[in-house]
């Protein structure tokens, strides 16, 4: 009774007077992680043109150069193959070669690469047979290669869906006690997909040894970054998940290699995932089917051509006396040899067995698939009899 009276008298007190009953204060709030170390630097990291190049291993610099030149030639050759009808489509990475090559070279053999449909070059730089890397795009099989051979997941067409795979694989490897890292590649457009966010969240919660590598090449087909995100940078997205975000000049092969290698090493040592955004540019159209003049001006392309990853590295190496005329010729010749071999092999029609359609749907064919295989067999026999 007492307390009831007390309450009613409290209610009548003028505003601002002390309450007889005070709500218990909530427990003090504290951020779980200090966000400051997770934030990306204000400017993308650049190594070329700074004194930091002196720290780089000359062998690595030469290797990067040779791979860039080979990569550029590969892009040109594959693009030419689409014009000859040998490839259904080719999403070129001309202008983005530094990212592709660095992604491949930042990994150890036991690590895994999770490429998107655009990242053929990263797969080739990691050692995948250039013809096998093009199976998907030629259209004779969906992936075609054995992912275990070079630890390269299938080139992934639905955007960002390979990212949770990378997390799961890295998590599984860690559970087994293997110090394997997964590097997962995605475009700027792909960062808007739900799978991107779910993958980052899982990776951070599980502290999975994964590196998310965003190639921000300015456009998702025709849509510019400004219409894709309102974030200060894509690297900033890392902070909300509790992992570091890193920004790097995607046309500076040495810088990309350095940032990715740091992130891979950190993951391998149990430091958890990192999100790396490389700022780069897609010089070619989205694919051969795209008309890039509809959504961007020549001036923009020319500015980026001047910031070409091969030019940047070539200038630096030449100035430092690490590359001369012979070195350049050597790299160009090696690239030409690769292109000629690729041309020749791609000009041979692939030998296809239609019965393979039923070969890998299930471990064991279902009764339904056995029936359908018999039907196709009969159709093929009839075809060959008819000549």
């Amino acid at each position: 009774m007492d307390s009831l009276q007390q309450r009613s008298s409290t209610v009548q007190e003028p505003p601002g007077a002390a309450l007889a009953y005070r709500p218990t204060p909530p427990p003090a709030w504290q951020p779980r992680t200090d966000p400051a170390p997770l934030l990306p630097d204000a400017e993308p990291l650049r190594v070329l043109g700074t004194d930091a190049v002196a720290d780089a291993d000359p062998e690595l610099l030469r290797r990067l150069y040779a791979e860039l030149v080979r990569g550029r030639r590969y892009n040109a050759q594959a693009t030419a193959l689409t014009k000859q009808g040998r490839l259904a489509v080719y999403p070129s990475t001309t202008g983005q070669e530094a990212c592709e090559v660095a992604a491949a070279l930042a990994l150890e053999e036991r690590d895994w690469l999770f490429p998107s449909y655009r990242d053929t070059l990263a797969a080739v730089a990691r050692g995948l047979d250039p013809v096998q890397a093009l199976t998907l795009l030629r259209g004779d099989w969906h992936t075609g290669y054995d992912p275990h051979e070079h630890r390269i997941a299938p080139l992934c067409t639905p955007l960002a869906t390979q990212l949770p795979h990378a997390v799961g694989l890295a998590h599984a490897a860690r559970l087994k006690g293997d110090d394997v890292v997964a590097l997962a590649m995605v475009g700027d457009g792909g960062t808007s997909e739900g799978d991107f966010h779910e993958a980052l969240n899982f990776a951070a919660v599980w502290q999975a040894p994964v590196v998310f590598f965003v190639q921000n090449n300015g456009f998702a087909i025709s849509v510019p970054l400004a219409k894709q995100t309102a974030a200060p940078s894509l690297a900033h997205k890392a902070v909300g998940y509790g992992m570091p975000g890193r920004l790097v000049d995607g046309n500076d092969a040495v810088a990309v290699h350095q940032v990715l290698t740091e992130a891979v090493t950190r993951a391998r040592r149990g430091g958890g995932p990192t999100l790396v955004e490389a700022v780069t540019y897609r010089i070619d159209a989205h694919t051969n089917a795209d008309d890039a003049t509809r959504y961007r001006g020549d001036g923009e392309v020319e500015t980026w051509r001047a910031h070409d990853p091969i030019l940047l590295l070539e200038r630096e190496l030449t100035e430092r006396g690490l590359l001369d005329e012979d070195g350049r010729r050597e790299a160009a010749e090696a690239a030409e040899t690769m292109a000629a071999a690729l041309r020749e092999r791609m000009n041979a029609d692939p030998v296809l067995d239609p019965m393979d359609l039923f070969a890998h749907v299930y471990a064991e064919r279902t009764a339904q698939l056995r029936e359908q295989a018999e039907q196709l067999r009969a159709e093929l026999d009839a075809e060959s009899e008819a000549g």
Binding site: W141, H142, T143, G144, Y145, D146, P147, H148, A153, P154, P158, T161, L163, P164, H165, A166, V167, G168, L169, A170, H171, A172, A173, L175, K176, A182, G194, D195, E198, A199, N201, F202, V205, D356, A359, H360, V361, Y362, A363, T366, A367, Q368
Partner: protein
């Protein structure tokens, strides 16, 4: 690994009736004990043991690395399971409710179902996706969907659904042992159904893809699965009074489909009704009726009929009894099987 794991040796403890939920839990527990690559993951599967307690005790027994509470993101759960399978694990994923599996459809359809195919067999996906499905438990919206037709329409997936406690154990063991992805549909209104089978007694591991005749009969075949099996069994008993001796086939596996058992039954009886609670239009019954007609046309005395849920979004709980095919609707269909030319 084959789909025929060996039966567990009998334990001595006294046999107590088991529920379907317990049988499923036991299946996971036995699989995890036998094979360290089996991992369970999902929302609330750890400490809580799942909202239906199907994973009860697994985290305690095997640790949180083997039975993992994930962040709340179905695409993420299934997507990470893909990566785990790539690295040699056998993930068993729990989707909390039928309608909450939809965010994971992209991973299921674009990756889980076709990874083997796109990699020419190099990368199988031994993943089990456990989905509590169907109505009859008074659930609010999004807790009672029957999504089997969506899964059935995706090549590369097995789609399995037990209707008995014994099958819950046997089929889940087979699903976990399968090198291919299995969508394992758990009829949630049968979770608490009991059987004299005891988790302490040995249980057979059923191969995926085999239907079973639950009741022998001569007048007509009821073709059904999952939550509709008890309905059909009851209808068959009731039909006896009308002079109908019904055979009941429990499909157990929707993909692959056991054409042989089903066709053999319909050839014996000459009449068939397909019974399921998911919507009829575009539903499993249409496919089943077509298959039966193709194989048994000359044996059929009447068209293959369907008794299904209405073609409506799953109704609110106070109305669901009007939607779910019950014994009377099955018996009405059976009556209509007395087909006459020109009728």
């Amino acid at each position: 690994m084959t789909t025929h794991a060996t039966a567990r040796p009998a334990a001595k403890a006294a046999a107590k009736p088991a529920t379907m939920a317990q049988a499923l839990q036991r299946a996971m527990r036995d699989a995890m004990a036998e094979d360290p690559t089996v991992h369970v993951l999902g929302e609330d599967v750890g400490t809580l043991g799942g909202v239906f307690r199907v994973t009860d005790g697994l985290a305690k027994e095997f640790g949180e690395d083997r039975c993992t509470d994930t962040p709340l993101a179905e695409a993420g759960i299934l997507g990470t399971a893909v990566g785990m399978a790539m690295y040699g694990l056998r993930p068993v994923v729990e989707m909390q409710f039928d309608a909450f599996a939809y965010p994971a459809f992209e991973q299921l359809i674009s990756h889980v179902s076709r990874m083997r195919n796109r990699t020419r067999g190099a990368m199988p996906m031994p993943i089990v996706v456990r989905v509590p499905y169907g109505g009859g438990i008074g659930g609010v919206e999004h807790h009672s969907d029957s999504s089997e037709a969506y899964y059935m329409a995706t090549p590369g997936l097995h789609v399995v659904t037990p209707a008995t406690v014994e099958d819950a154990y046997g089929l889940l063991r087979a699903a976990i042992a399968s090198d291919d992805p299995v969508v394992f549909l758990e009829p949630k209104r049968l979770y608490w159904s009991k059987s004299d089978w005891s988790p302490e007694a040995p249980a057979a591991v059923e191969p995926i893809g085999k239907a079973v005749v639950r009741r022998r009969g001569t007048s007509a075949t009821l073709i059904t699965y999952g939550p509709s099996l008890p309905v059909c069994m009851e209808a068959a008993e009731a039909a006896q009074a009308e002079g109908w001796d019904l055979e009941v086939v429990d499909l157990r596996s929707l993909v692959p489909f056991d054409d042989e058992t089903v066709a053999a039954s319909v050839k014996r009886t000459g009449r068939a009704v397909v019974v399921h609670e998911s919507a009829g239009f575009g539903g499993p019954g249409g496919e089943i009726a077509a298959r039966v007609t193709e194989r048994c046309f000359h044996h059929l005395e009447a068209p293959v009929l369907r008794v299904a849920g209405f073609d409506i979004p799953y109704p609110p709980p106070m109305l669901e009894r009007h939607h779910l095919p019950g014994v009377d609707r099955v018996l009405d269909a059976v009556a209509r099987l007395q087909w006459e030319a020109g009728s």
